[in-house]
Subunit: 352 residues, 2 copies
């Protein structure tokens, strides 16, 4: 237990002193790694998510190969949707919900699933990963935030303009809130189950909250994420484990004041805003995670190093977890990721 | 000439007093209008762009039917690419550049076209539209900003992560700047030709500049838009006509201080930030245009009215042109657009 709470990553989440800034990377267990593509060539994406041994294998690959300071469960934010009543397919072009939910009746028919019963393979993967990691680095669990889950449930997949989602939000706000509330309760019990199985931190991904105006962000995204966080804070599993909660809004620049007020311990910061600006905007009560443009990994190792140093300098020594500002892209050269990790590990805040 | 400069829209662009706030809408000549779909059912999108009578017909439809205070040329930002050396197709799924440019040699082979020679049908459309409008409302011309044009030229179409664009920017910045400079010069001569043909204001669309970090926005987007604006300001056609320049960055929230410094007369504001926040951020030296979430047009006419009033209240009486924060979506009910226009025309800033 002491070893666990002493992990660099967990200390940074709690804004405790660290000898250097920890680093992990969104989608670090992913297609940019040849060893991941090798596993993927033998199994479908869904099989990988549903087979704990495979999920465990790919979760550990970036830890073993690239030396990140935290592991993140290999899974998908949509993995809980079938158990709620929405079948999902994962073709190459992106996830597809076969019968998206767009009516009050459809929303009322959705259920809040029992995670161990319905997606127990995720918790089994968490247990296997914890054993395999042997406490080298902590394991982060995750789930989709209510609003982002709603965009998939309603739109049926990714979208450019989110017409069905916005038609629901603005045309029938009461039904929208009922849907978001079910997604919030699902998110909370699911994250609680992951922590009970051994996850040492959790990240709530709000990948699409950035399509909202500030008032709608407060009403349709933040409000329901706050419900999730309140439910987690009320859970002994969370409270007693001191499990940090990370909230990541992709495109957070317009919402800084509200974002700081989410109740999360750590705020994920995308690359479109300077992390120094976010620090000044949200104050010192939360830790920050981010925020190198994933596209910078296409640059030379020298340029990567300079850009990594710039992020570290802006973020400062306390309460910062280095990460990309969004997921690593499949076309990224793993050697360039290695250069990024090396630069974070090299940097020292005391004038280097 | 006096009648022209007295248009509400042009006065608002110049921050002169207006009796009420003018309104137009991005993509107002578009698929949400049955009369547009009727024309489109007989001609391809490209035929419509290349046939002045058809471009004129659909440009006037929203003026005649919905009472907007400005017309905007029906065309496409990519219309100049073939003349530069990049063939474009416009299938339903979105534009496709057949052979995207990704090498220094490819960039060097591109030419800055003579607009009247190569895309003279656009200028002919401008002339026909001006005649047909009979000075009822002013006509806005437009072009794609250098950075946004570069994303299409390099990526070959729309993208999620823009891997090729970022590989060029970060892997070969010198070539990226050569490409952006050619696109800037093309943009400037093209807008100058539109103004010479009769356009009374111009908008530079930077739809994808919002994918950049603040430093890269300055270096790869703003810097080259400033070149365009400097070239236009140096042109007697612009100077003597007092033609306002509108710069629209979709996702402008992270860049406010730099955005204000673009040299444009009017800044377009997307819906993800409160327009009051933008006003406080950029000060009083520029006019603002925006910024209702296009998705709000799915709400009831009562809710639309309330949201329109909120934007007008935040933006204030001076130097504001009401618009959506992005293009109207095809699924929008024209009656809801009518409710929006009516609400703008109804509102009075002196306590209503």
């Amino acid at each position: 237990m002491t070893a666990t709470t002493d992990h660099l990553f967990l200390r940074a989440c709690r804004r405790q002193p660290v000898e250097r800034t920890p680093v992990w990377m969104m989608r670090q267990a992913g297609r940019y790694l040849p060893s991941y593509r090798e596993v993927r060539s033998r199994s479908s994406f869904l099989e990988m998510c549903r087979t704990p041994a495979l999920a465990c294998e790919v979760t550990l690959q970036p830890i073993d190969q690239l030396g990140f300071d935290a592991a993140i469960l290999f899974s998908d934010i949509l993995i809980t949707l079938p158990a709620m009543g929405l079948e999902v397919a994962f073709p190459e072009a992106g996830p597809k919900i076969q019968a998206p939910v767009r009516t009050a009746a459809g929303i009322d028919a959705l259920v809040v699933p029992d995670p161990e019963q319905e997606v127990g393979y995720v918790m089994e993967a968490v247990r296997q990963i914890r054993r395999a990691l042997q406490n080298r680095v902590p394991l982060i669990g995750f789930a989709g935030a209510p609003f982002t889950m709603a965009t998939y449930a309603v739109e049926g997949g990714g979208s450019k303009d989110y017409p069905h989602t916005k038609a629901l939000l603005f045309g029938d706000p009461a039904s929208a809130h009922r849907l978001l509330d079910k997604l919030a309760r699902t998110c909370a019990v699911y994250l609680e189950a992951q922590v009970a199985a051994g996850a040492q931190a959790v990240q709530i991904f709000d990948s699409w909250a950035g399509i909202l105006s500030p008032r709608d962000f407060r009403e349709y995204a933040l409000r329901h994420t706050k419900t999730v966080i309140s439910m987690l804070r009320a859970s002994p599993t969370f409270r007693d484990g001191g499990v940090p909660i990370i909230y990541f809004v992709n495109g957070c620049a317009p919402y800084l004041a509200d974002y700081a007020d989410s109740g999360a311990d750590v705020l994920g910061v995308d690359w479109r805003i300077d992390i120094g600006t976010v620090r000044r905007g949200v104050g010192d009560k939360v830790a920050l995670q981010g925020n190198l443009d994933p596209g910078v990994l296409y640059a030379s190792p020298e340029e990567i190093r300079a850009r990594v140093f710039e992020v570290l300098r802006q973020a400062g020594p306390v309460g910062h977890i280095f990460n990309l500002g969004h997921g690593v892209t499949p076309a990224t050269n793993p050697e360039h990721v290695r250069a990024m990790v090396a630069a974070v590990h090299e940097y020292r805040h005391d004038g280097k």
